[in-house]
């Protein structure tokens, strides 16, 4: 579903990403971990067409990222860390607009929005604005925004940052259900390693712009003789997972 070889991003003299090779299969939930500044967000922004790679090759959902970025955009959903809603506009209007940008008619868009919101435990919030919603509700709204056009891959950037443990666990359930029911492929960044352990089928740890460890949480723990992913992280990057993290 996602395949890259030698993906790099250079800003002037600074190599933010130095050569990422990764393969994600359909229906996998993959966690992309790494210290701040390791190249996580840059890689995510390249895979979602928001940033043009300097070199390398990449196909996302079977489409060449360089040759057909619009084709990639049609097939992926992207949920940014900071959300996607202005606090003064009714969320239903924003969702319907977004669905129509993917080619749905107004009626199709309305039906899709109603069904998606119900499926994410947000029934009937169309007239509300995000100003009156909890952190957990906002994150689920952002996920609804990313799922409007039934993407094959969903990219989630730090989906549970700032959420309380209960909302976080609820969000994991929703992500698992999307994969189990719809076969959705999920690629997410997180700096909560217990989240990666609990939710992800496979984990990629990136440091200094390269992938330094990859495998299932169990494989990584046994390979490093570690009890938790935190210990693995420390062993391969030499840093604590939440060092300098915002949340």
């Amino acid at each position: 579903m996602i395949h890259t070889r030698g993906l790099t991003k250079t800003y002037g003299q600074v190599e933010a990403v130095r050569g990422i090779d990764l393969d994600v299969s359909a229906g996998e939930i993959v966690g992309f971990l790494g210290p701040n500044g390791a190249g996580k967000t840059t890689t995510l922004r390249m895979l979602t067409t928001l940033l043009r790679p300097t070199s390398g090759t990449a196909t996302v959902a079977g489409v060449d990222l360089f040759a057909d970025p619009a084709g990639v955009r049609r097939r992926i959903g992207y949920v940014a860390q900071g959300g996607a809603f202005a606090p003064f506009s009714p969320v239903g209007e924003e969702l319907v607009l977004q669905a129509r940008l993917y080619g749905l008619t107004r009626e199709e868009a309305r039906e899709r929005v109603t069904a998606l919101l119900a499926g994410l435990d947000l029934p009937g919030v169309e007239e509300r604005t995000t100003a009156t919603m909890s952190g957990g509700q906002k994150r689920r709204l952002d996920i609804a925004m990313g799922l409007l056009h039934r993407p094959e891959v969903l990219f989630l950037d730090e989906p549970t940052t700032g959420l309380d443990p209960q909302s976080r666990a609820g969000l994991w359930d929703h992500v698992r259900r999307l994969r189990d029911r719809d076969g959705l492929t999920v690629f997410l960044t997180t700096h909560y390693l217990e989240e990666a352990d609990a939710l992800c089928d496979r984990v990629l740890i990136v440091d200094h712009g390269r992938i330094v460890a990859a495998g299932t949480p169990e494989e990584l723990k046994s390979a490093h003789g570690a009890r938790t992913l935190d210990d693995v992280f420390l062993a391969v990057t030499g840093r604590e997972p939440r060092e300098g993290a915002a949340a």
Partner: protein, 242 residues
Amino acid sequence: MTALAALTGHYLRASFGNKFTLAFGALQPFLYLVLFGPLFANSGVGSWAVLVPGLLVQLALTSAGMAGFTIVFDHRFGVLERLRVTPVSRVTLLLGRVLRDAVVLLIQAVTIIVAAWALGLRAPLAGVLAALLLVTVLSVGMASLSYAAALTMRQELFAPVMSTVVIPLMLLSGALLPMSLAPAWLDVVSRLTPFRYAVEGLRALFAGSYASSALVWGVVVSLVFAVVGVAVGTGRFQRENA
């Protein structure tokens, strides 16, 4: 096409939901019309038909020129990024906004012309309608450049910078007093700005001089300005994309 209609409709609903913004964008030219217009009409420099075209260009500068302010918030709240991951072309993302701004400007321009009519403006209807079209073309370029500016400079600088920049542009256009009164150096500087030609083209239309070179120049410069504006604006939307 569907995407463009969806975007423009969405933005128009938002604009009409906020009548304050709608009125505020036209406030400056309206104040000039009511508080400066009577002086101008009695000054012997020219009639209402000379002043009102200038005020339409002032409107394009202030109303469309500040359009970029709305994208500052979209940028901050992640709305812009969410639009950029859709397959919609970058020029459509820009034009959805710009067409809204053009409709808003058209409504404001008609309001100003109607008010001016009540104060004593007289001009041929065909010329006035053509003038509305021309000022709309101008506003497309202005709004596009405003978005480009908003996406380029630091967010908090946009409002102070733009509101300062439009003042010399307006004065140099001859919107308030015809540039025929200007000393040579000021006349030369004025000819370096596109708005000078727009003002003179609009004045030709209000005077019914449909075959004048001023009109030809006004149309040509406004069209070029619009094309350049949209190209620059699209470039800013495209920036860094794959």
